[in-house]
């Protein structure tokens, strides 16, 4: 089932709210980091729309997952790439879907292994509820109320679209 969400409009809203938040906090030179793969697609758009000077960073959390010993090594792991020094910077961390919070926990760990950022703002396209850790986003594009049997997935990168899939469909 395709979710009836206007992604372009949602991205514009996220851009505006990020601008407000940055102004409120007096942040002038933020860095942006997207989480592979869907988060990176969203980050690419927001990075451009916000005209951020520093090149976009990409994080792969495969080496930081908390379920490695259970499900093993993913065969296709793309490298992380942070083309700036994290130390002392304000970071906008971007992901597509916020669910349990485990991905964000892993992403924060990686960031701190590269240095000590001054602050981290979390922006996600979707917050679908179901948190298992005390992690919240600062900017959310869409709130969705989904059951554990439902999965939301972003497809892209050219035509971004959200689909909701129910187990057993």
């Amino acid at each position: 089932m395709t979710a009836h969400i206007n992604i372009e409009q949602t991205l514009n809203d996220m851009r505006d709210r990020l601008r407000e938040l940055l102004a409120l906090r007096g942040i002038e030179q933020p860095c942006m980091v997207g989480i592979h793969t869907g988060g990176l697609w969203i980050a690419r758009r927001l990075h451009k729309q916000l005209s951020i000077d520093e090149p976009l960073g990409a994080l792969n959390i495969s080496f930081y997952r908390d379920d490695f010993s259970r499900i093993g090594m993913h065969p296709q792991v793309k490298p992380s790439n942070l083309p700036f020094d994290v130390e002392g910077r304000h970071i906008i961390l971007v992901d597509d879907v916020l669910y349990t919070g485990r991905t964000i926990r892993a992403a924060l760990n990686i960031l701190f292994d590269y240095g000590r950022p001054t602050s981290v703002i979390l922006a996600t396209l979707v917050d679908r509820g179901g948190r298992e850790l005390p992690i919240q986003a600062d900017v959310v594009g869409q709130h969705m109320n989904l059951t554990t049997a439902q999965q939301v997935k972003l497809s892209g990168p050219t035509n971004l679209a959200l689909t909701v899939h129910t187990d057993g469909d």
Partner: protein, 325 residues
């Protein structure tokens, strides 16, 4: 291709890493791709990822080696595993304890992986056949048989310089192929990855009789063999493994098979020079070549860490039975 049931589980995933022979091109590519991702760990302030936290890895070096043991240890530590370095010379085997007793004791201490270096061919296979099901074994060199992680780090180094299409490449391996487990692993890997042409350049006494069966072109003349090659791999002269007079003397060997700048000039202008170390300067190659701009010898050492991380993660990161990713 039939799956090697000792090295790979039913789904083809690596259980042990004992030899490159018999593995598929896609599995080798998977190792190389994963190693590429692990290279970025070097850029972190904290040069560590938590992947193997809580795992214990034992280095069992029955034959001494500084570089290989150190890079395995670094690889394990960068994956957050705990590392035991067992000094075999001073440990129980010299008190008459059998190898299997020692292994079972290490298993009882809940080790998850053994890194094995041994002077006898087949030692790592023997150990792999006798360990508990959850334990993985990585061969860090067995006699003159195989040194698969060295072979893979060499492929990784070649790929980083020459691209992933091995079909375009002409590679020459020079020196003591007879005694070299490194050469054997390199030859298997290059063949699996589909190398364009593979040459071996060595005196007749240092070429194994079955070399042709491995799909290599044998040259005894350095100048002819080096013509137009993309990759020059020098081997160490393994004098400790030679019985009898296979070469006349170090200086005479250097005259005929040593790599100097003039000889290197016969290879392609952008050819890279590799050596598994440790180098016998003035016997296998001139210092001007070893330290020259075409040399990638120190890169091989750094790449060895990433490749060993990849193999360790793949062996210990097999999905548990019955669970899907």
């Amino acid at each position: 291709m039939a799956i090697d049931t000792l090295q790979q589980d039913a789904s083809g995933k690596l259980r042990h890493f004992l030899t490159i022979e018999g593995l598929s091109r896609s599995l080798l590519s998977e190792i190389l791709n994963l190693a590429e991702s692990f290279l970025t760990v070097d850029e972190q302030h904290v040069k560590k990822v938590p992947l193997l936290r809580g795992k214990t890895i034992a280095n069992l070096f029955f034959e001494s080696s500084t570089r290989t043991r150190t890079t395995f240890e670094l690889a394990a530590k960068r994956l957050s595993a705990d590392v035991l370095n067992i000094n075999i010379q001073t440990s129980a085997t010299s008190k008459g304890e059998s190898l299997l007793d020692m292994l079972h004791n290490l298993e009882a201490m809940h080790c998850d992986m053994f890194i094995v270096r041994h002077a006898d061919s087949g030692a790592a296979h023997f150990i792999a056949r006798h360990v508990a099901p959850h334990v993985s074994v990585i061969n860090a060199g067995d006699g003159s048989h195989a040194h698969p992680t060295q072979g893979m780090l060499d492929m990784f180094t070649i790929r980083r310089h020459k691209g992933a299409d091995f079909n375009r490449l002409r590679v020459a391996i020079i020196g003591d192929v007879m005694h070299s487990r490194v050469a054997r692993s390199q030859i298997h890997a290059l063949n699996i990855l589909g190398v364009g042409e593979l040459r071996v350049i060595a005196p007749k006494t240092l070429v194994p009789a079955a070399a042709h069966a491995l799909g290599v072109h044998v040259y005894h003349d350095m100048a002819r063999g080096l013509a137009d090659v993309d990759v020059v791999i020098m081997l160490r002269l393994q004098r400790e493994r030679m019985r009898g007079a296979l070469i006349p003397s170090g200086s005479e060997y250097f005259q005929l098979y040593g790599l100097n700048e003039e000889m290197l000039g016969l290879a392609k202008a952008d050819a890279i020079v590799m050596h598994p170390g440790p180098i016998n300067r003035g016997i296998e190659m001139d210092s001007a070549v070893a330290d020259g701009k075409q040399s990638v010898i120190l890169e091989q050492v750094s790449n060895g860490i990433a490749v060993r991380m990849a193999v360790m993660a793949m062996c210990l990161g097999r999905a548990a039975e019955g669970e899907s990713a």
